[in-house]
Symmetry: C2
Subunit: 297 residues, 2 copies
């Protein structure tokens, strides 16, 4: 079974009845598991987390668009978070048994159907992107719904599917595929925030560190220690242990030890065996060597 | 779902029709997954591997005893391997979501039923054992079927369930619970077998090393290297990484590096995340932090 996660972000976080109607559209889709949903009033935005196999997830996303287009009008929407669509972003994420490639296919397939059915322009992003200049969500979303009509008329900004102008009420949507994100904190045995800042700067991709690593320094005042707080956006390309070892080295150079680390929330099943295989120098480890995986196959 | 593995060893490995009849008894039990079976002609013995939840496995073991008692007569059985029963040994092993305690309960419950239904004496062993002198399979089985009647009349050798004399044709059975075994080899960047021997001696429990570790030195002639070949019988009590680190230290003391390691066959799902949590210094990692585990729950 190829399990995929889907995490749509919708532009409604205040009207409870609307949020419930959107979540119900997912909940009623057969063979889709609703895992979580949460709304942010300030951002006026909700995030829905679901999982299932490809065909079921596509049906759930179509049902979600249907429900959202009946209830959300971006012309009267306000909120702090940048957005261009009623259903703003739809990432597909590979879990157990699924590949990133399968998620890219699912993203394209879903994007095509959404554009056709609802006359909503769709941009593909991240791994599903067809244009390096439109790979990052931030670049696609820059200018927001308010600047979308002008942007779409600019060369290079025709959508991947659907009309080359915004849907009047629902704007445009961004659909794509990405690896699961791992939120991972490393606590240092020091109260020196400058040390954590230097380490964060050394490992994050934006300042020349590892690809797929975002990192900031955080002070845990009540414990009198500091933390390097990490988002790892592709644990296959940059493994957890690689980041951990780098933090340890950078800390040691400054006379500081690692106290402990912690995973925030959930970690995909494959990430930890990969770290283990790395440290144990397993020459040729594959997930089908995990007993329970062969049972489920 | 609490998944348990069961690996009965039966005293028949030559008569194919008998082996097939025994395996069929397992195969026909609802909700039990037959994973593997193999027969050894020299040992005149077969090993059947199955998995399922507790109630279904118990039913399969009862069906297996029923089939075996109709077809196996130890009075005419010969083979190199020590054995005391037609169904000689039945270990229950915890997999995903199951505890060793649940397997102990299942072992006792199954043992009680087997003794009652078939008038076969049953000894509990390993984690299910009620007597330290009868914890090891080797101790219970010493003397074989041929010496069983005399042994059972000795003080301290009344069975845990059933009559205090062998079943005339089926002898006695040994039922218990144990952790999954991990077969794990570490290859050294040297051809010196003496180094591998010293390391194996340093880590194995029988010569004062780590509990739950069996280790021998092996020469891989064709590759010109040596190997420390390890059986780890409880990866929770003695983690894989602990053994790996010890081998690395012992090798380094002798100027030798680890080349690579390998898992032979399958590894239980929990063992590798545990190794990862150890190396990543995860302060409070629990298996329900694995995304796919929460999905299955």
């Amino acid at each position: 079974m190829a399990l995929i996660e889907c995490v749509p972000n919708v532009s409604e976080g205040r009207r409870t009845d609307v949020v419930e109607a959107l979540v119900d559209a997912v909940r009623r889709t057969p063979a889709v598991r609703l895992l979580n949903y949460s709304s942010d009033r300030a951002h006026n935005r909700s995030v829905i987390t679901m999982a299932g196999e490809a065909a079921a997830l596509k049906a759930a996303v179509i049902a979600l668009f249907d429900a959202a287009l009946q209830r959300i009008d971006l012309r009267v929407h306000s909120g702090e978070h940048p957005r261009i669509g009623a259903v703003d972003v739809v990432p597909f994420v590979p879990l157990d048994g699924a590949t990133l490639e399968a998620c890219v296919e699912l993203a394209k397939d879903t994007a095509r159907d959404v554009a056709q059915r609802f006359d909503v322009p769709v941009y593909l992003y991240e791994e599903a992107s067809t244009d390096p200049a439109r790979r990052n969500l931030e670049d696609i979303r820059r200018g927001g719904f308010e600047g979308l009509a002008a942007k779409m008329a600019t060369p290079g900004w025709a959508p991947d599917y659907g009309p080359a102008r915004p849907h009047p009420r629902a704007g445009a949507s961004v659909i794509g595929a990405r690896m699961p994100l791992i939120a991972y904190n490393i606590n240092l045995a020091t109260s020196r925030l400058d040390v954590a800042r230097q380490i964060a700067a050394a490992i994050r991709s934006s300042s020349g560190g590892f690809p797929y690593v975002k990192a900031i320094a955080v002070s845990l005042e009540e414990r009198g220690i500091v933390q390097v707080s990490i988002n790892l956006t592709n644990y296959e390309k940059t493994p957890m242990l690689t980041v951990f070892d780098a933090v340890r080295r950078e800390a040691a150079r400054r006379g500081v030890a690692i106290l402990e680390s912690e995973i925030v929330g959930l970690v995909p099943a494959a990430a930890l065996p990969e770290a283990a295989a790395q440290v144990l120098q397993l020459a040729s480890f594959t997930p089908d060597q995990i007993l329970e995986n062969t049972l489920r196959a």
